[in-house]
Point group: C2
Chain length 338, copies 2
DNA sequence: ACAGGCGTTGTTATCGATAACATAAACGGG
DNA sequence: CCCGTTTATGTTATCGATAACAACGCCTGT
């Protein structure tokens, strides 16, 4: 009845089951040759003494950690959460576990994080975005594992890419608005370049406006990225105060777009009769809001699923060279812009 | 210029820096006696050959992984994300990294997850909720590490607790509504007992209604937990169709409450003039929505921060017995209920 | 009856960092 | 100037699982 002081090891299980430690090791793996009877006896013995497999030892010897490292800007974001879900689902069929870290939209934090994560010797690493510090880039290049950049189309990819052009996606939105006859279009985004996808979207907006021969001067900055609903509402307030003749506003995300919508509701400004509003991300709120928000669906789940599938192909040697998978974001026209 | 085939180890760094591997090991730790000159030389050598510390080997020998395991029901949830942030911030000062898993609100998935996580030999484990399978309970009890249950007040805690009573919190809301003279109050929640916190809230609602001598019959079930904005809207539609004299509705979360609000907007039902709506969680949307939603703030960030602080105390031996820290959720009365 | 093959189990050495112990060098106080 | 103390570094053995290799028994086909 005396509980052994130390955590039991495979050797303890082996002794109880009357086999060698190696056989115990095999019993804990799939696709190994252990007779069904032995395996059951071993698992029963393990359960009895409360043995829990030690991955640290296993990893050291086998040089396999079954980790895939993932960095995302923020956990509290439905889009990245979906990407993560796609990754998790895709990787768990192979027993690969996700080692997650978040960067708070800061590439220097990303550098620290990537180094931390690489110490755990992941089998592959997925990063969000295509802009990194030089050192991050070097670390990733020398890691000797598959690297996947997502949510962007970097000019000089480190390895694989599953993403889309944020600038082009917003361009599509602007073109659509212009085709419907609008000219005085504004953009609400963050006030810094921390969120590189947000910056790309703003630049896409400016480029698209100029390409259409329109002024891209209605740019409202609304706090540190990622901007919140509240900040979207504040920005909308300032826009309505300073440029009341604005016909449409494109927001860097659905959250700020919803905030902007609520500000209109508080002021009695009618959407879409008085002003159109569009967001980015196709969050649930865009569909449910009254009026429903026009937005862009970047298929976040698919990004994760494709990244996972790609990683498995590369690890299996079924894919040699670096791959770039393009996602085609979809324009979702809803009541807030018609 | 020939890149060595294999990943460099401390021995390689040691050779280049002209010291023993042990000294390299010390140079990578804090609070160890290595002269500043040697440390710099070692770090320089490490950088030069692209050495990356191998935590698997370190963990095996030192029996310290610097992991804290955390299970949450879903990543795509602002409340749990806040708890996670509190944990991360609190733990990273000690170099503890979070090993995250999500259960999808399923205690059997939680069992698999807990076993997976324990294999990585975390220094402590934080689980969401106080209801587990017997095996999960046994695994946690025998893990030999600090266990913290959160977001609940279990009757028989496994170890430490940082949480609150979901039932009591909703009771406070019901009492408030009754004190304002309402009697026909409904509850919108999920249609299964998967989300145990949701179930506790519904039971708290029923108990509070009965304690006030009122019928607790207006219970609308709206899909598998966690219920979405869309499902909240559907549920509200059914409530308005079947029980149009309902005076107030309490929703299991702010997301479903917001969905319910939008359904009212679509139907021209005025909030709060025709019906009151309340949610749970104090998500950002509750404050920004028009009208702003009455809700309950469970201080999710604080839950994480306190759990982190508690873990550090226990690991440092500054706290011996099991501790239960109660959080007092705050009723936030807003425009949707007055 | 026997060679060859397959499935099952055992033996030995090893993955890479570091705890524990040992030692050499620097320091400091009387 | 000497000895006790601190600081900096080296040596050896080890954490626990498993890769690589070996061996044993059983089956099958000729």
């Amino acid at each position: 009845m005396t509980q052994p002081r130390k955590t039991p090891t495979m050797a303890d299980v082996a002794r109880l089951a009357g086999v060698s430690p190696m056989t115990v090791s095999r019993a804990f793996k799939r696709d190994t040759s252990v007779s069904e009877a032995t395996r059951e006896a071993i698992l029963k013995a393990a359960e009895e003494i409360g043995y829990v497999f030690d991955s640290a030892a296993s990893s050291l010897r086998s040089q396999r950690t079954d980790f895939v490292a993932v960095t995302i800007p923020s956990i509290n974001n439905a889009n990245f959460a979906e990407t993560l879900r796609g990754l998790t689902e895709g990787l768990k069929v192979r027993g690969l576990q996700i080692l997650l870290g978040y960067t708070d939209y800061d590439i220097h934090e990303e550098e620290r994080l990537v180094e931390q994560l690489l110490r755990r010797r992941p089998e592959a690493i997925v990063v969000t975005g295509g802009k990194h510090t030089p050192r991050t880039r070097r670390l990733l290049e020398n890691a000797g594992i598959p690297v996947v950049e997502t949510w962007d189309l970097p000019e000089a990819p480190i390895g694989h890419v599953v993403g889309f052009s944020n600038a082009d996606a917003v361009r599509g939105m602007v073109d659509h608005f212009v085709a419907r006859g609008l000219t005085r279009i504004a953009f609400i985004g963050g006030d810094a370049d921390r969120d590189t996808r947000g910056t790309d979207r703003r630049e896409g907006f400016v480029a698209a406006m100029q390409a259409n021969g329109l002024e891209a001067t209605r740019l409202i900055a609304a706090g540190a990225p990622p901007i919140s609903m509240r900040e979207g509402a504040d920005a909308m307030g300032r826009l309505l105060d300073s440029l009341p003749d604005t016909q449409a506003v494109i927001c860097v995300s659905d959250l700020s777009a919803f905030g902007a919508l609520t500000e209109c509701q508080r002021r009695g400004v009618r959407v879409p009769e008085d002003i159109w509003i569009a967001g980015f991300g196709d969050y649930e709120i865009a569909e449910v809001a009254v009026p429903a928000l026009t937005t862009i669906n970047p298929f976040p789940r698919e990004i994760g699923a494709k990244a996972a599938a790609l990683i498995l192909e590369v690890l299996d040697g079924r894919q040699a060279g670096p791959v770039t998978l393009r996602i085609a974001p979809e324009l979702m026209i809803r009541q807030s812009s018609r």
